[in-house]
């Protein structure tokens, strides 16, 4: 133990492939968390459990990249936010026209489309919605007048493709199509070929025209959502949440939980064990019996009781995890300090009348440092999986959703039996990869610190 110097550890460590792999994975994870903290504002993340925040996202959409492997392309969810705007005035009539271009290149119909707008007007302007298809046909979808108002008002509304009026308008133009429009939904008609009911690929232009008399009208906010079945890098879940955000933000949380719990419990265990071992006799006996008592406590049931009765805040949870983390380390630290205690220089130091605290801190603890680092690395995965397990049972902190909570939601919505793989696999893989990184580092360190295992 004492023969290993920090420099040697470094050299040995750089030689071990497993250790390097671990460090590389860890570096990637740290990078991910930095990116997550910088790019995704905390506010979005804290709105995780607020369904209203996710309304414009699709429900259980598969990740977009799946299209690369699919012969039949799944329609992507598109949120079109910047239309090309034209304003015309002819005499008393003014026309504000918003155009959304959409390149539709998929082999399935979209789920629906929603037009979300906020308009500023006076009087009662006329809103017309139409679409120009790739084959040049223009379909009138809707023409409606906005609620009358004498003065300038701001009006926000949504137009859904499920609107009955749109359906009726389309059936008036049914002579264009070579099949029966009855029973088909609006998006199945708008995006269909003329002869058969199959998706028509090409560039679509959605036109929103606002006609006003004697007034200037604006549509400051205008958003067209084409509801697809694929969205984002990681897809979405049942409550329309973007899983990418959850997964990205889970990384710093998991690292935080794992590292804090591991470091704190190793430090606690070391101090406790070394003190017990150094003092010996009665103190040692009492301290070790107390250690045994905690060792005999079933950890998971107690963690559940604690989080149900006291608090499920993430910081309190970290504390609870520490209570059960330090026990094993204290045992090993005690036996190690018993060995070191018998060395000559410790005797010499005692003889010279040095204080106990100084002997422990200066002469015994440094000897245990390599072991401490190895055990920090090894106890991180345990902390992460335990926290994930608690969250999985629904006992996590709802204001800080972790990977475990994503999996909890997946389980409550029966994702496994419904085949929603993109909801289950990524969070678990992230947990496992994070754990693996630390296990690799720990094993590499362990092999150096305990030469017995090296063979």
């Amino acid at each position: 133990m004492s023969s290993v110097t920090p420099l040697e550890i470094k050299q040995e460590f750089l030689k071990s492939k497993i250790g390097i792999t671990g460090i590389v994975i860890l570096a990637i994870l740290v990078l991910t968390s930095i990116i997550a903290i910088i790019t995704i504002p905390v506010e979005t993340f804290q709105e995780w459990n607020n369904p209203g925040n996710w309304i414009s996202y699709p429900k259980i959409a598969v990740p977009v990249w799946i299209n690369i492997f699919m012969a039949e392309k799944i329609p992507e969810h598109r949120i079109l936010e910047s239309p090309s705007i034209q304003i015309n005035s002819q005499g008393t009539i003014s026309l504000t026209s918003h155009q959304f271009g959409l390149n539709f290149d998929y082999d399935d119909f979209p789920n629906d489309f929603i037009y979300e707008f906020t308009s500023e007007y006076s009087g009662s302007p006329l809103l017309q919605m139409s679409v120009i298809r790739p084959d040049g046909i223009k379909l009138e979808l809707l023409s409606t007048s906005l609620p009358f108002s004498d003065s300038k008002t701001i009006h926000s509304d949504r137009i859904f493709s499920t609107d009955e009026v749109i359906k009726k308008n389309l059936s008036l133009q049914s002579e264009i199509f070579g099949f029966n429009l009855h029973r088909l939904s609006v998006e199945d008609i708008v995006f269909s070929k003329i002869q058969r009911n199959e998706p028509l690929k090409g560039n679509y232009i959605f036109l929103i025209d606002l006609y006003g008399v004697n007034s200037e009208n604006h549509i400051p906010e205008s958003k067209l959502i084409i509801g697809g079945k694929a969205f984002g890098i990681m897809g979405t879940d049942e409550i329309r949440r973007d899983l990418t955000i959850g997964l990205l933000w889970g990384t710093p949380l998991a690292l935080f939980i794992g590292l804090v719990v591991a470091i704190a419990s190793v430090v606690m265990g070391l101090l406790y064990g070394v003190y017990a071992g150094f003092k010996g006799k009665k103190t040692d006996e009492i301290m070790m019996r107390f250690n045994d008592v905690i060792y005999a406590l079933p950890a998971l049931p107690f963690l559940i009781i604690l989080s149900v009765t006291i608090s499920n805040s993430i910081f309190v949870m970290v504390g609870f995890l520490m209570i059960f983390g330090w026990v094993g380390i204290a045992k090993v630290a005690r036996s190690m300090s018993l060995q070191i205690k018998t060395r000559g220089y410790v005797d010499a130091a005692t003889m010279m009348g040095q204080k106990n605290s100084k002997i422990i801190l200066k002469h015994i603890l440094p000897q245990l440092l390599p072991y401490a680092f190895a055990s920090i690395a090894i106890s991180v995965p345990a902390a992460i999986t335990t926290e994930a397990g608690l969250s999985f049972l629904g006992l996590g902190d709802p204001s800080f959703p972790t990977w475990g909570q994503i999996l909890h939601d997946a389980n409550t919505f029966g994702a496994a039996a419904r085949g929603l793989w993109w909801w289950i696999i990524p969070p678990g893989v992230m947990i496992a990869v994070t754990g693996l990184a630390f296990v690799f580092i720990g094993n590499a360190l362990d092999a150096i610190v305990n030469p017995k295992l090296k063979r």
């Binding site: 149900v308 994930a388 999985f392 389980n411 678990g428 630390f438 296990v439």
Partner: protein, 332 residues
């Protein structure tokens, strides 16, 4: 004992509040059901006083007047528990409808034993053989595969693998059911078959995740022992390699292995709470979780007690076995 005390301490105060609220609710509903009582009072104040006195009376009768930490109450609770009298569950019932905690626990326990103890035994058998094999040939392909499998499987949460297994075998290939609870009544003759069939998926999952670390553990013991002089001596005499590994070396590695086996067997009785939740297996783990979420104190205490007793008994057995396998320990 300490475990029990801590449990009572943790849940005691909450339980009292719940019980007291229950009494208040009971009294009020009794009075609203019986309008004659309400009419016999002239003023609202008098009526409220009457209700309060009723509530106080009942609280005293049930012994809730004293705080939960008073020595009398804890003593009484402990005494009752020692006699396996856990009282009645407040919310949960067994499948047959009994609310006696003893009935509930003894209904769930066999199922957990069936699943987790079977799994533990399979895991340890596979683990010991694989570990012995890789420990005797350090650096071989088997050794490398075992070691890396152990490392990798230790960082996967069991319940996540469980979800993947459900996805794979219940959704993609519809071989096994997603829910592990059989849907036919337990009186049906086909029940045992159905139970075994539903058990397959959780069993495979637990074994898959578990045996790696076992093998790794056994391997590490074996590596140490294979370098001892007496093994060398046996090798030079020309004793069969297999015989050396499985009889001589393994017997020497036995003490720590047996200890771990005994502990993990008793630990398996608790059932992995989370694993049972994933597979919806109606055993101790799920009982525990349900009891904690609805704060059903008698069930929590009963389950904790039974598990602790098993734990202590298995430590004792492990110690005795240790002495049997390693005679040096007997005098110590």
């Amino acid at each position: 004992m300490v475990t029990l005390l801590i449990t009572i301490a943790l849940v005691g105060s909450n339980m009292d509040t719940i019980l007291k609220q229950g009494i208040v609710f009971q009294v009020r509903s009794e009075i609203t059901e019986n309008p004659a009582i309400a009419e016999s009072f002239s003023s609202v104040e008098e009526f409220e006083n009457f209700i309060q006195s009723q509530i106080d009376q009942r609280i005293k009768v049930l012994g809730l007047g004293e705080p939960w930490y008073s020595p009398q109450r804890i003593g009484l609770t402990m005494y009752k528990i020692l006699l396996l009298d856990f009282g009645h569950a407040t919310f949960l019932t067994s499948d047959s409808g009994s609310s006696d905690v003893k009935d509930i626990i003894f209904e769930k326990l066999p199922r957990t034993i069936l699943l987790f103890t079977t799994a533990t035994i399979i895991i340890s058998v596979i683990g010991v053989f694989l570990g012995a094999l890789s420990g005797s040939k350090v650096g071989s392909i088997i050794d490398r595969i075992t070691s890396s499998f152990a490392i990798i499987s230790s960082s996967f949460p069991v319940w996540w693998i469980g979800m993947l297994m459900i996805f794979l075998f219940a959704f993609v290939y519809q071989i096994f059911p997603a829910r592990a609870t059989p849907d036919i009544p337990s009186s049906d003759p086909g029940y045992i078959g159905a139970l075994l069939y539903h058990m397959t998926l959780p069993l495979i999952t637990i074994v898959m995740i578990g045996f790696g670390s076992w093998a790794y553990l056994v391997r590490n013991f074996m590596v140490g022992i294979m370098q001892e002089d007496f093994i060398m001596a046996k090798k030079t005499i020309g004793i069969n390699q297999k015989k050396i590994i499985y009889i001589h070396a393994l017997k020497n590695a036995a003490p720590p292995i047996v200890t771990i086996l005994a502990l993990s067997l008793s630990g398996s009785l608790g059932g992995a709470i989370i694993t049972e939740a994933v597979f919806d297996w109606p055993g101790m783990g799920r009982l525990y979780f349900e009891a904690i979420t609805v704060m059903d104190l008698p069930v929590i205490i009963g389950a904790t007690y039974i598990l602790t007793v098993f734990f202590l008994v298995s430590i004792l057995i492990a110690d005795l076995l240790y002495g049997y396998f390693d005679p040096r320990m007997r005098t110590g």
